[in-house]
């Protein structure tokens, strides 16, 4: 069994978090920021820290068109949920990797790729105008929604989360 995590706030309804993530995205937050700021509340991660930590992952990691911010945001959340600062706790360490891998698999099977470039049809090194065009297309709302729903399902599936 996993150790009890006293900092975890259990009063939050996990099912509400994907809606919050999409709402954050509509407010102008990037995909990675929207995911971490919504799900970070489960772990009492302050909003300003969540947004700053995730801010470099926009546009496929620093506007490079690489890994989708929903996926990196998801990996941050799963690390908070299952990770450990204890290097000897190999169970938790492997469990975290498995859950991140599982999240990646489900994401790919729903959306076809982990790559921002492939998901949003954009080339490498976005210009601000191109990033705006993606934003205007609304494509990323769907990606945030799908990724957040997968995260909800993974978190709900773990008994100690409910």
């Amino acid at each position: 069994m996993m150790a009890d995590a006293p900092h975890r706030t259990r009063t939050i309804d996990i099912s509400s978090l994907s809606k919050i993530a999409v709402e954050k995205s509509r407010q102008g937050f990037s995909c990675s920021e929207a995911i971490l700021v919504a799900f970070g509340t489960l772990f009492d991660l302050p909003d300003d820290l969540a947004i700053k930590i995730a801010s470099g992952f926009r546009g496929g990691i620093g506007l490079l068109g690489e890994t989708c911010g929903v996926v990196t945001g998801g990996a941050l959340v799963l690390g908070l949920a299952f990770g450990t600062p204890d290097l000897k706790d190999t169970f938790s360490r492997e469990h975290t990797y498995l859950q991140v891998g599982e999240f990646g698999e489900r994401f790919k099977s729903r959306l076809g790729s982990l790559s921002c470039r492939e998901l949003c049809g954009m080339r490498e090194n976005y210009t601000p105008e191109e990033a705006k065009a993606v934003r205007d297309s609304g494509r990323h709302y769907q990606i945030v929604k799908t990724g957040a729903e997968i995260l909800e399902a993974i978190l709900k599936n773990e008994h100690d989360f409910l």
Binding site: I53, S55, G56, I61, G62, L63, L80, G83, L87, G101
Partner: protein, 160 residues
């Protein structure tokens, strides 16, 4: 007055990088080694830093995607230079400029940002593979180079 001749600066740089390398030797993944050293300098509690970085080892969840030393450095740059204010476009742009700078310098030294390409010939998917990769010294080299570049950029941006 220029700080560039101050002999304390390079010593300090070497020190942060050395601590990150030692974190790697102690068993941290590349992402954990970087964020556990730089996160607390930038206001992130060390336990939270370890957890946030824990999913990014082996190119994120052992998927061979972006190198964990790179993703953790971007977390640190976001912490140092980013903003929670969506209307603060200056800070948001500046974070990307510095991330781009990090990516260019890292690629210039190591050739790629991708875990699979950086660790070609190795696999992290099995415990034996992960052990062999560690023994090769490659992760240690990557941690050292990433933390040196991160330290340089944070100093240039006067963030630490």
């Amino acid at each position: 007055l220029s700080n560039s001749t101050n002999p304390a600066e390079p010593a300090q740089s070497n020190n942060l990088s050395q601590i990150a390398v030692e974190q790697g030797r102690a068993g941290c993944s590349c992402s954990e080694a970087i964020l556990s050293v730089f996160g607390p300098l930038l206001g992130l509690p060390s336990e939270t830093a370890m957890k946030l970085a824990s999913g990014f080892g082996g190119g994120m969840g052992l998927m061979g995607e972006t190198c964990g030393a790179v993703t953790a450095s971007f977390m640190a740059l976001g912490l140092a230079l980013g903003t929670h204010d969506v209307t603060d476009t200056y800070s948001r742009q500046n974070t990307y400029v510095m991330i781009g700078e990090f990516a260019d310098r890292f690629k210039g030294k190591l050739g790629s940002l991708n875990c699979r390409e950086l660790c070609v010939g190795h696999t992290m998917a099995t415990p034996e593979g992960a052990k062999a990769l560690r023994a090769s010294g490659r992760p240690e080299q990557i941690i050292r180079i990433a933390s040196e570049i991160l330290d340089q950029i944070l100093n240039e941006a006067r963030a630490i």
